[in-house]
């Protein structure tokens, strides 16, 4: 049957066929070229990309180094804490999730928030296969529950994360420092050094200064992201993983300090009656810091995040609002006028210049006239020589030195600076205040050309513009005690591997040898001894029994500017002068230098002396014990492990 009458003209189409063939060929050629580009030219790139897709690198946590005191007692260590992660694509929200909520003991509102977080992540192709951080520092009981039911909780992972822990709490907190989480700014700089978001880094103190040693190095382990073919995991790993498949983590170095935590505790105890202050004990034979304390303090475990982020935030809010400035390391980060504790250095300068000798006598009638001004003394001391002037802290005697035509303010500054006053010590744990030994040119600059002789008189008694830090003063008294050796302060004695092998030791370093005439020095030291041991001595009455020491009291005048946020009823406290005691012990054959500053402790050093003498007494006891054979805590621990 003829269905269709041939009536169409096929010719109209004919001219198109060649074009169609050409277009078709061209199109497939384009695709072919693209394939050559993808598969051959960029093949290596995409092969690497595909490999990255299936290989998962698991970070292996390292252990931060432990910080110990001189006797091997732990000052900073790590406590295990547990974070809960989920893998959204593997977690069954209908069956597994309610069990998880039950084990976590989460409130419905909280549970809903967490659930939403998981749902959001599971919608994202990139994130759904990755660990999602759900909760930090989960309770031990919860961890135990989750781990017992591990088999039923597919897609839930409990990951141990060590948290920094400071067993001695507030004791020595400023020196040790604390940890903080790295922020985005740090990361731009630190990412190349292996830091990741969420990592913790030493914020201040030893933790910050020795971060690179303490930190350690993360390890890693490669695994296959086998979602469906778990059965052949080993086979797959052999096929797809490059060597090395595992890099072991390197634990951080342990650090042994020169600090004696018992001495540190003794300071803490002796300061109990005071609101704020600082104290430093240095070994005069080495420059090693045996104790350094700043009050009020803070608990580094809490501010390091050991009790959760809320506790940390609250702690910081409270600490920064406190007018007593608990976050400030008052041993090195703040400078105070040295007051009368500077007098030994004035005396040394005068002796060296030949302005005074042991026979020089000044008549103190309660002060000193200089030009049209009257410079007050602490009392009426009558006829005083150098010895009595130091013992009774007679200002008039030192005003006379300052007023002498051959005594320049620069000479006083030079002596002070040769003992390290007004110069950064370079201890490096915390930001250091430089302090100041004012010179003539400093005053000229400061007061627009008007230098007055009275400035020299003020400098001679340690007032005026002179400021020092507690640590500087301790090192300078150590130099007085050891005959003129100014040491570089040291707080780290050695660095060890985690098994106790010493990697690096830090021998004492002398900063400068100060030339002092032995005759001059013995005059000064006899004066300093008299301050404590003679009836008329300014420290005599407050010194506790059994503390053999020598030193000088002092008053640091406070400018009457009330700090912000202080209750008006407490202004009287903030207007009180600071009390100093700087000295060394034992008086005859000194081994330690001690400086105590009681903030707003009142004039004449009354409140600083008992603190210092109690610490010295405790130190003497500790020294007694040390001389009898004993084990350090580290040795004891090692022995226990061995048995």
């Amino acid at each position: 049957m003829s269905i269709l009458v041939q009536r169409s003209d096929v010719g109209e189409f004919r001219r198109r066929y060649r074009w169609m063939v050409l277009i078709c060929l061209a199109a497939f050629l384009v695709l072919f070229c693209r394939l050559v580009l993808l598969q051959v030219i960029q093949g290596d790139y995409y092969r690497a990309q595909a490999r990255r897709n299936i290989v998962r690198e698991i970070k292996l946590a390292t252990r931060r180094g432990v910080i110990r005191d001189a006797e091997g007692r732990v000052l900073a260590a790590n406590r295990p804490s547990y974070n809960v992660y989920v893998v959204p694509s593997e977690l069954n929200l209908e069956q597994t999730w309610p069990r998880v909520v039950q084990f976590l003991g989460a409130q419905p509102a909280e549970a809903n928030l967490l659930r939403q977080k998981i749902v959001d992540a599971s919608k994202d192709d990139r994130r759904k296969d990755q660990q999602l951080l759900l909760l930090v520092d989960v309770d031990r009981d919860v961890v135990a529950l989750l781990e017992t039911h591990e088999d039923e909780l597919h897609g839930v992972e409990v990951v141990p994360v060590p948290v920094r822990n400071y067993p001695h709490g507030e004791i020595g907190a400023h020196l040790l420092g604390y940890m903080r989480e790295v922020d985005a700014d740090d990361l731009t700089e630190l990412e190349s050094r292996g830091y990741h978001p969420g990592d913790r880094i030493g914020a201040v103190g030893i933790e910050r200064r020795w971060e690179s040693y303490l930190r350690g190095k993360r390890g890693s382990r490669k695994t296959i992201r086998a979602k469906r073919r778990m059965a052949h995991r080993e086979e797959l790993e052999a096929k797809y993983l490059d060597e090395p498949r595992m890099i072991r983590p390197v634990p951080g170095r342990d650090i042994s300090l020169t600090i004696d935590v018992e001495l540190q505790q003794s300071i803490e105890k002796a300061m109990r009656g005071q609101l704020a202050g600082a104290a430093v004990v240095v070994d005069v034979r080495t420059g090693r810091i045996l104790a350094a304390s700043s009050k009020p303090s803070y608990d580094p475990s809490i501010v390091s995040g050991g009790q959760g982020i809320d506790a940390t935030r609250d702690a910081f809010r409270r600490l920064y609002a406190d007018p007593l400035k608990p976050m400030l390391d008052k041993t090195i980060s703040a400078a105070y006028p040295p007051g009368s504790t500077f007098k030994p250095f004035t005396a040394l300068a005068a002796l060296e210049e030949g302005i005074i000798d042991s026979a020089t006598e000044v008549d103190c009638h309660g002060g000193y006239e200089y030009g049209r001004r009257f410079f007050r003394c602490t009392g009426v001391h009558r006829r005083v020589h150098l010895h009595e002037a130091l013992v009774q802290s007679c200002n008039s005697y030192f005003y006379a030195i300052g007023a002498h035509e051959r005594m320049q303010i620069d000479r006083l500054a030079k002596t002070g600076m040769s003992f390290g006053l007004g110069i950064k010590t370079g201890i490096g744990t915390n930001p250091e205040a430089r302090g100041r030994m004012p010179t003539r040119s400093w005053y000229v600059r400061r007061y627009k050309g008007a230098f007055r002789g009275g400035f020299t008189l003020l400098s001679a008694i340690g007032q005026g513009a002179a400021t020092v830090t507690v640590l500087q003063l301790a090192l300078s008294y150590a130099a007085l005690a050891n005959g003129g050796t100014l040491y570089q302060p040291q707080v780290v004695r050695s660095i060890e591997t985690s098994d106790g092998t010493i990697v690096q030791e830090f021998p004492p370093r002398v900063k400068r040898l100060i030339t002092i005439d032995p005759g001059h020095l013995s005059m000064i030291r006899s004066g300093l001894r008299g301050v404590v041991h003679e009836k008329t001595g300014t420290a005599h009455a407050e010194t506790v029994e059994g503390a053999s020491m020598a030193g000088k009291t002092g008053t640091a005048q406070v400018s009457h500017v009330t700090p912000r946020g202080v209750d008006p009823g407490k202004v009287w406290y903030f207007n009180r002068d600071h009390a100093w005691f700087a000295g060394y012990a034992p008086a005859e054959a000194p081994e330690i230098a001690i400086v105590v500053l009681v903030e707003h402790g009142g004039g004449g050093g009354k409140n600083a002396v008992p603190v210092a003498s109690r610490v010295v007494r405790d130190w003497l006891k500790l020294r007694e014990r040390e001389r009898t054979p004993h084990q350090t805590a580290r040795e004891a621990a090692n022995e226990e492990e061995g048995t």
Partner: protein, 372 residues
């Protein structure tokens, strides 16, 4: 048995062995590849997916039977029934809106018994037939004006608008491109071409503003700027490119491509089977597959050029164009040279409606070839 390549068929029409072998080769590649693409699921809880290559074989067998039917009945009968089929198809397409089941936010399926079918797939064939009929009945010697093409444009625009509303951008695009290829066979005035381009541009930009859904826009923008978004749509394109690149020159080997085996390829049995193939077989395998598709398309043009009437020629070009645009777009999107729109790869992608449509198309091609 007369000459090689031709077998006598009831002493009348001859089977086109080239077309047959080429189709069988592609279908075989397709089934083998589908096995690899779904082998991931063998040991999983969704092991049902691992068996879809068997269903694909069933569909190809069923499609083959229909294709024999489509080849056996003289294509010129279709000419008379063209409008009847066409409007029937439109009715089915409209019914989708009433009866459809939602899949991923778009309704394309009508459920009949235990399996669903997609009217929008079959419309492709019906559109080719109706356009072929129109051109067959409208022979001219002088170049055509704009108005002369109003009817075929309308015939294309109606189903295209309907599938756009489903929404199914890819299928609408296939309609338009296939129809444009068929209409492109006739001579058109230069000025009409110019205005066509202007109006086309306006329609595209208006539809961007008014018709396209956000996810469709996202696919296109992420294609234009792939680095911008590597988590959403761009992610699929990136993983597909990675799979293809991972294949290298010789491929990872059958069922050994990691991108596929570890589940990084999205829709690996419907939208991205080419990425699976490229990863397993490398550039060499891909070259063979490209050659097969290219040859099939050129052979369709060859059949058209040999056709004895305008209807047959337009029919052959239409089927060839349909296969060409599907293959070009699907592979192009897998390679990252074209945006990701859901267009299947003929005989490679899993899907009953898609397989049946292609098989019917091949049957018609055979039909024209046998009756030159």
């Amino acid at each position: 048995m007369v000459s090689p390549g031709r077998i006598s068929f009831r002493s009348g029409p001859q089977i086109d062995m080239v077309l047959l072998l080429c189709s069988v080769a592609i279908a075989t590649f397709g089934i083998v590849n589908l096995y690899s693409a779904t082998s991931v699921y063998i040991e999983s809880s969704r092991s049902g997916i691992a068996d879809i290559y068997v269903s694909q074989v069933y569909w190809i067998v069923v499609g083959g039977l229909i294709a024999i039917l489509a080849a056996a009945i003289d294509y010129r009968h279709l000419e008379r029934l063209a409008y009847f089929f066409y409007f029937g198809g439109l009715v089915a397409l409209t019914l989708v809106f009433v009866l459809a089941t939602d899949i991923r936010g778009s309704s394309r399926w009508i459920q009949v018994g235990s399996f669903g079918f997609q009217p929008s797939e079959f419309i492709k064939i019906l559109l080719i037939i109706v356009l072929a009929k129109y051109l067959h009945n409208d022979p001219r010697t002088e170049p055509r004006k704009w108005v002369d093409l109003a009817v075929p444009i309308l015939l294309t625009a109606v189903p295209a608008a309907l599938v756009m509303a489903q929404p199914d951008l890819g299928t609408a695009m296939i309609y338009v491109l296939t129809a444009a290829t068929i209409i492109g066979m006739v001579r058109i005035r230069r000025s009409s071409l110019f205005w066509g381009a202007v109006i086309g541009g306006t329609v595209v930009s208006l539809s961007w503003k008014l018709v396209l859904r956000d996810y469709q826009k996202a696919r296109i923008t992420s294609f234009l700027d792939p680095e911008h978004d590597v988590t959403g749509t761009g992610w699929h394109a990136l993983q597909s490119r990675t799979a293809i690149g991972n294949g290298g020159l010789t491929g990872s080997g059958f069922m050994s491509g990691t991108q596929n085996q570890f589940g990084f390829l999205p829709d690996q049995f419907s939208d991205f089977p080419f990425a699976v193939f490229a990863e397993d077989w490398g550039l060499l395998g891909c070259a063979a597959l490209l050659a097969a598709y290219c040859f099939l398309c050129i052979w369709a043009i060859h059949i058209a050029s040999q056709a004895k009437d305008r209807f047959g020629a337009a029919l052959a070009v239409g089927v060839g164009a349909m296969i060409f645009w599907h293959a070009f777009f699907n592979m192009g999107m897998a390679m990252g040279v074209l945006p990701v729109v859901g267009i299947t790869l003929p005989l490679f992608s899993y899907g009953g409606s898609s397989v049946l449509t292609v098989m019917v198309g091949l049957g018609l091609l055979m039909n024209v070839s046998m009756r030159r």
